[in-house]
Subunit: 284 residues, 2 copies
């Protein structure tokens, strides 16, 4: 399926990802409009041709005219927004989002816009940076795009979301349920960020910076983190994340015990297991 | 100071790093000999011109003839070796090693070879690979080289070790006491390896490999680990490593509690702290 380029796309929230969506869709000939709370962001989006029209307030007409909407908002802001403005959305419009958590978002948004179709999705293309001025650096090609449909979605809606992802340049597009998505993201992304942050918070060892090699730098790169967004993501998925933290802590205390006991064979066994499992992650 | 190229260098242990030392020193015109327990390694070292002579046993003459010795052995093997063969070493010879832990090694080796001078050092250029066939891939230029002298070392010995590091291509050469070294390495290297290994051991999530992005891959790259060597390194430095694990676990449990309490502000504070501290590691 090819997306219909005569449709008007409204991007609500012109941050790192919303900005990138706007940029790519404009380049590909779509009519792209935008809503943001920031005058500077609006200015940037207009001047760089990411959108043809936009507003920071009094944006009701932009909402009514849109055939397709993309929410580039934090989850809590997204929920507030659809409560307040969801009724303005055109009947039959296709809507998606970019949220990094799904269970708490998908059903409430679908319930708030019953006249349109919300097909939730997660472009796993986040970076340490944020804001539209970094959008141009985002690369969708190697990233995963996850569609998380529910039984309120139609084959047409899911197909539209798939075609949108292809148009944006994603090569790896898959489907998960919202629950599967949140469990997966708790492990492959949130636990890793929790670990990196805690490693930096554990002690002030910045005087050791001159001795750090690749392993330390790789492990802590993601400790540079957007505080507001990640607090949102962690709290919306806290049950999964707490459970992952508990499994990880148990493993670490297990290793600690082997150290205390001078259990060389036990340590070697852990190293062999981690080596074997990590190899599976290299193949894909 | 320039190293004297008329001297004979004996490399005891032709693994990843010992092999690389042999390769570079031979290229630079030194007479390099080698001892290894493996016939295949000896063959490889001779065929590739890493050494001009070598042996897997009956190597007493090689030891007696060497002006300078480099131990590319695991710590426990190194201690056994000097007990058995240390007396063969030429009086006045300069000796160094490549061990990743220092406190348990330096004084016993110095005591075992009182007729020569052991100046301990640690080339922080390890990789996930091991063995002489991967030596050519090792790059010393960006790595740290740490010399850990004691009061049994002379200015001449330390200067020799410094000149050796320069000859090998290290650009960043520093000195620490053995205790400072082990505390530093417990944090910047061993704790990171412990975390990566435990993340892989915590649960068998290899079915999630297709969803992993850069953050997960970066965090777990070092979970592919040489089991024998790392069990050695962990156990020789277990007091420091356990203390680092405890500080890290406390930080992680602190984050867990903030999740349980829905403490958004507390989470954001941790994220801001980690972001600020990590920035210091980018500058160096």
């Amino acid at each position: 399926m090819q997306l219909d380029t005569t449709k008007t796309y409204l991007i609500v929230g012109l941050g790192l990802l919303g900005g990138k969506y706007a940029q790519v869709l404009s380049q590909k000939g779509f009519t792209v409009t935008g809503i943001t709370h920031s005058d500077a962001t609006l200015q940037y989006a207009l001047e760089n041709g990411y959108i043809c029209r936009g507003a920071t307030r009094d944006f009701e007409e932009l909402v009514r005219q849109a055939d397709c909407l993309i929410f580039g908002l934090y989850p809590t802001t997204l929920l507030d927004w659809v409560q307040e403005y969801g009724a303005l959305i055109k009947p039959g419009a296709f809507i998606t989002d970019v949220s990094g958590v799904k269970r708490g978002v998908v059903e409430p948004v679908q319930a708030a816009v019953p006249q349109a179709e919300f097909i939730a999705s997660h472009p796993m293309a986040g970076r340490e940076t944020s804001g539209i001025s970094h959008s141009a650096e985002v690369n969708f090609a190697p990233a995963n795009f996850i569609i998380t449909p529910t039984d309120r979605n139609t084959p047409e809606g899911i197909e539209w979301c798939h075609a949108l992802a292809e148009t944006l340049g994603f090569a790896r597009i898959t489907q998960l349920t919202p629950a599967e998505h949140d469990r997966m993201i708790g492990y492959v992304s949130q636990l890793c960020h929790a670990i990196a942050v805690c490693l930096m918070c554990a002690s002030d060892n910045t005087e050791l910076a001159c001795y750090t090699g690749d392993s330390f730098r790789d492990l802590t790169r993601i400790a540079r983190i957007n505080d507001k967004m990640w607090a949102e993501l962690f709290l919306w998925n806290k049950d999964n994340l707490i459970s992952e933290i508990d499994m990880f802590t148990e493993s670490l205390l297990n290793m600690r015990e082997k150290l205390v006991q001078d259990d060389r064979e036990g340590l070697e066994e852990m190293f062999r297991l981690s080596t074997a499992r990590r190899a599976a992650f290299d193949k894909k």
